[in-house]
């Protein structure tokens, strides 16, 4: 996991593609995030195995954001990838109304079961090249980076 200050910004000036998705912060809607992840991964020319990996990683990223919510809101997902095969995803929990008090950039505390949180961290550690989470000014973010694996011949 990266430090909270190393949220990926841009993956490069050349051939940068970008997709944004906003969905209700509702467990019933996470299938939309997984569908979008699969579509983006395909467009980024990731392997079939990495497409499945990204679906799961995005689900875990969204679960982390859902666990940190204290009311209704939206999850905004920004997918950015370049021609070299680096894909960054930043998820932001956008609350309806005033956000909760600031946690000064520290990783937000999750309210879900500790066991699931530990499993989620293991999954993300294994599937993506980098990931992290923070909360600044009451706005919770989670991000990940995945690089395309070149198929060996």
């Amino acid at each position: 996991m990266t430090s909270p200050m190393s949220v990926p910004g841009s993956v490069g000036a050349h051939g940068l593609s970008r997709v944004e998705l906003s969905l209700p912060a509702d467990p019933q809607m996470l299938f939309l995030a997984r569908m979008a992840a699969a579509a983006v991964a395909t467009r980024a020319e990731l392997s079939y195995e990495q497409v499945e990996d990204l679906r799961l990683a995005i689900d875990e990223l969204c679960v982390a954001l859902l666990d940190s919510r204290s009311g209704a809101g939206q999850i905004a997902l920004l997918f950015q990838w370049d021609a070299e095969g680096t894909l960054d995803v930043v998820g932001t929990l956008v609350p309806d109304g005033d956000p909760s008090p600031s946690t000064n950039g520290k990783a937000p505390e999750r309210t879900g079961p500790p066991l699931s949180y530990e499993l989620s961290q293991r999954i993300l550690d294994a599937l993506v090249d980098d990931h992290g989470a923070d909360a600044i000014g009451g706005v919770h973010r989670a991000w990940l980076r995945m690089r395309r694996q070149e198929l060996s011949v």
């Binding site: 996470l30 299938f31 799961l56 679960v63 859902l66 079961p113 699931s116 293991r122």
Partner: protein
């Protein structure tokens, strides 16, 4: 379409080994129902339960958390929980989380019944 629409759990107690068959995607939306059905079956006191995940196309940390909690409860009372897993991505997930060392995992439901 929602993931919930594809999610289905059926329990069978017609043999000595109760089976919980799950179909669809187990995620943060469907995990509460999965947990409730598994707890209900375990609460009837069987020594061993088989959870058939061969028709599960997706499972995340919340679904795995339900399974880990259930196997802990079963073993605490001297029982066990066995899994039937055939989907490569779920086998991979069990391996990368180390849970393949925790569960008795089988690739065929008939193997789970025999053992």
């Amino acid at each position: 379409m929602t993931s919930d629409a594809e999610f289905e759990v059926t329990a069978s107690e017609q043999t000595a080994l109760p089976v919980l068959r799950v179909r669809g995607e187990i995620d943060v939306a469907s995990a509460p129902e999965f947990h409730a059905r598994l707890s209900d079956l375990a609460g009837r006191g069987p020594e061993v339960i088989m959870v058939d995940l061969s028709e599960v196309s997706f499972i995340d940390s919340t679904g795995l958390g339900v399974l880990v909690g259930a196997v802990g409860d079963m073993r605490a009372r001297g029982g066990d929980l066995r899994l039937v897993v055939t989907q490569p991505q779920i086998i991979k997930l069990l391996e990368l989380t180390g849970l393949d060392e925790v569960f008795t995992v089988m690739s065929d439901a008939s193997d789970a019944v025999r053992s």
